[in-house]
């Protein structure tokens, strides 16, 4: 992490250098001087307006520049969030604003077998999918970092599952997993590998694995591309140096690649966990949470409770149970970022 620091400094100073030079070429020396300190030019210096005060005052300017982002975050993130928290504490329905009922929604949820099963499913779904994403994503990134023919084309193609709209990808998988017309089963049976194929979406355990697999399929490209970017940022001289020191292929991976790619990989990992944990489209498209709620995840249950059944309060409570998990992850991630930028 210390490496990029000095490099950034040198690049900044070298970028700054040409400015006065080009200014000097086109005009006379005095203009070159103003270019170096543009603010207190003649006209502005005379009438110092409120605006110039603000611009001169670094603190105020800072707040001014941050304001749009803060306003956007408040309007699009904070407001809906607090509204949802408010809803979760009421028995609000689509037609009736309801009354404050404290934590009763959460108590009711905990009493429901469907909810407890959903919670369990969500954790298995997330852990399974993220593990596959991580292993396959890093593996793919390592392969893509090697040089081979059509490397650019392959790198672009790898992104496809990530680019294809969720609904389309899910439809294709639905055909492959179809209870009666599964293409995968057809291939397995025709090739003589199996006598009757798998019950991809019918067997409750296998169904959870199937939706998890599709989620992973969709997420692997992101992991691979992010890790690949991290790999490409590793200077070749580190590998050369470690080779001279006698490091083998595995040791180079263990002591050079892994530590240097770790920060970017962890970021991708956290994002993957968050996205998987709150995924809706794949489960809804493939199984609607069935068979017998075996694939219900918090997002689909929240939709079913809040919108389909009209219990806004309870639906909000279901989705808010994602909060503690996501909060821990986000705090951890933020602290990590702060620590690394402080260095």
């Amino acid at each position: 992490m210390r490496l990029p620091g000095p490099r950034r400094n040198t690049s900044r100073s070298s970028a700054a250098a040409p400015v006065p030079e080009t200014a000097g070429v086109s005009t006379s020396a005095p203009t070159g001087a103003t270019a170096r300190s543009p603010l207190p030019s003649r006209g502005w210096a005379v009438r110092r307006s409120f605006l110039t005060d603000v611009i001169d005052n670094e603190r105020a300017l800072g707040y001014l520049l941050v304001a749009p982002v803060v306003i956007l975050l408040l309007a699009l993130v904070a407001y809906p969030f607090f509204v949802a928290v408010g809803y979760a504490l009421t028995d609000r329905t689509l037609a009736d604003p309801g009354v404050f009922i404290g934590l009763e929604n959460f108590e009711l949820l905990w009493d429901s077998q469907i909810y407890r099963q959903t919670l369990r499913n969500t954790f298995i779904f997330t852990a399974g999918s993220v593990t596959i994403r991580l292993v396959l994503g890093v593996g793919l990134a390592l392969l893509l970092n090697e040089s081979f023919r059509f490397r650019r084309a392959v790198r672009a193609a790898i992104l496809l599952p990530w680019i294809v709209p969720t609904v389309l990808g899910t439809m294709a998988w639905l055909w492959m997993f179809n209870p009666n017309f599964s293409v995968l089963n057809y291939i397995l049976v025709q090739s003589g590998l199996m006598s009757q194929g798998f019950n991809w979406l019918t067997n409750p355990d296998l169904a959870l694995f199937s939706v998890l697999l599709v989620n992973a399929w969709r997420g692997v490209p992101f992991m691979a591309i992010v890790v690949l970017a991290g790999l490409q940022a590793i200077p070749q001289d580190l590998y050369d140096a470690s080779s001279i020191d006698g490091a083998g292929k595995f040791q180079r991976f263990r002591y050079v690649t892994l530590p240097l790619v770790m920060p970017v990989m962890l970021t991708a990992l956290v994002l993957s966990i968050i996205w998987t944990f709150s995924d809706f489209g794949i489960v809804y498209g493939l199984t609607r949470g069935g068979p017998m709620n075996a694939t219900h995840v918090l997002a689909t249950l929240s939709y079913q409770t809040g919108l389909a059944s009209g219990n806004i309060g309870e639906g909000a409570a279901v989705s808010l149970t994602m909060l503690p998990v996501l909060l821990v992850l986000i705090i951890w991630q933020l602290r990590r970022i702060r620590r690394s930028t402080a260095m």
Binding site: D91, P179, N180, N293
Partner: protein, 443 residues
């Protein structure tokens, strides 16, 4: 309280609309609306896509004609599947965006406080067409008042293959549940099993499974709609029957979504399933060019539900017109509904609809609204059978939640797959039902 707030909102909305909206509101009380009153007003109607394309085209035509006659600007906004439901919820929540929407029977109950009272219109329509069927009243009357107007119901029938049944030694569709079980075994032995949807299929899941519960005397609620009555000997008998017939099903039915039984039937993989007449209509449309589809058309029939120990029942999806109380154009709303139920429109719309959606009007039994195709003949009888979820209570929000959560479907599925014993499956369902009710009866 809700009433007051709603009125306040309406009067606030009146202001920007100016002079046009004001007379429209006051005109609500007067029966005849002069043409000039609606001129320049706007009416937004939310709709989905009905399966028979001509019925959608007729809705568009009605809007165009009415717009021309009254000078009202009518817009039909179409949404696919669940999107319509979400959009309706948004209109209810915000009080703006549309004046009318196509909804389902549960919507009447969930949104009752936010819908226009259309009792007088419903009475008038009832008088015109020989009275409403019970399923219509159940779908639209809340607390003695009509809060929506039934568009129709889509009867689900047993779609069965005459050739496959004949090969298994049967010439008719069984008329008892014992007979159906026996038939399923024979068909399974011949390699042409039947299949009943036990998955999270919002349409078929309901029309396939509720009739089984009722046929054995099971019910979800007592008449008060609040007392859970699912745990009964009748329910247990239904679950046990299901567990046995499931052994003769095609594999995979617990994962079936709405399209799956259609596909299996069209591919000749199953000999019978419960479905609306769309399998037949789609095959008939393609029969001229596709020999496989022609084969289906020639060798299929529609049969009614067998009779169980407690009788013969069916459960169909219902569509209703939801008149939003927040609409600033109540007069336009009313005019549109009047046009829809007019003698000039509704019988024609029903006939062209090929018995896919049938208005629940008793007088239609003797009118020329039925398709001439002999294979669709039975739908005239099926139309009289519908019972709505929530029985013996009304199709209340609690009943709707049970449908949306597939409690009944999963109860059967859990027992069929052996995940729970029949007794435990019923107990599981009872607990989930009690939860749903507990949530609704909170003080």
């Amino acid at each position: 309280m809700i009433q007051d707030r709603r009125q306040a909102r309406v009067s606030r909305r009146k202001l920007p609309a100016g002079a046009v909206a004001a007379p429209a509101l006051t005109a609500l009380a007067t029966p005849a609306i002069a043409q000039g009153v609606l001129k320049g007003t706007k009416l937004t109607v939310l709709a989905g896509q009905w399966f028979v394309p001509e019925t959608n085209a007729m809705l568009d035509q009605l809007a165009a004609d009415l717009g021309r006659d009254t000078g009202m600007e009518i817009r039909i906004e179409r949404f696919a599947g669940d999107e319509l439901m979400t959009k309706t919820a948004a209109v209810i929540g915000s009080g703006r965006g549309a004046d009318l929407a196509v909804g389902v029977e549960f919507d009447t109950y969930i949104y009752a406080a936010k819908l226009t009272d259309v009792t007088d219109l419903a009475d008038e329509i009832g008088r015109t067409y020989g009275g409403w069927l019970d399923s219509a009243k159940a779908a639209s009357v809340v607390g003695g008042r009509w809060k929506s107007l039934p568009i129709g119901q889509a009867p689900a029938a047993w779609n069965w293959r005459t050739d496959m049944f004949r090969a298994a030694g049967m010439n008719t569709f069984p008329d008892t549940f014992a007979g159906l079980l026996d038939a399923a075994k024979k068909l399974h032995a011949k390699g042409t099993p039947i299949g009943m949807t036990l998955g999270k299929a919002s349409g078929d899941g309901r029309s396939t499974n509720y009739p089984v519960l009722w046929a054995f005397g099971g019910k979800e609620f007592e008449a008060d709609g609040k007392t859970v009555a699912i745990n009964s000997p009748g329910t247990l008998a239904a679950v046990e029957w299901y567990k046995e017939i499931y052994q003769s099903f095609i594999p995979g039915t617990t994962a079936w979504l709405d399209p799956d039984n259609n596909q299996a039937f069209l591919a000749s993989k199953i000999s019978a399933t419960v479905n609306v007449n769309t399998i037949y209509l789609a095959s008939r449309a393609a029969a001229a060019t596709d020999p496989a589809r022609k084969n289906i058309v020639d060798n299929m029939e529609h049969g009614q539900w067998p009779s169980g120990p407690a009788g013969r029942f069916a459960c169909y999806n219902v569509n209703v017109w939801l008149p939003f109380a927040s609409s600033p154009n109540k007069a336009g709303q009313r005019e549109f509904l009047k046009a829809w139920y007019s003698r000039a429109f509704l019988p024609k719309w029903t006939k062209i609809g090929q018995s896919y959606f049938i208005p629940q009007l008793a007088g239609f039994d003797t009118e020329d609204v039925w398709p001439s195709d002999p294979k669709l003949k039975i739908f005239r009888e099926l139309n009289k059978l519908n019972r709505l979820p929530g029985y013996a209570g009304p199709p209340s929000p609690a009943a709707a939640e049970a449908v949306n959560k597939f409690i009944l479907v999963d109860m059967f599925a859990k027992a069929c797959t052996g995940q729970l014993t029949p007794r435990d499956a019923v107990a599981w369902a009872e607990k989930e039902y009690q939860q749903i009710v507990r949530r609704r009866t909170r003080t």
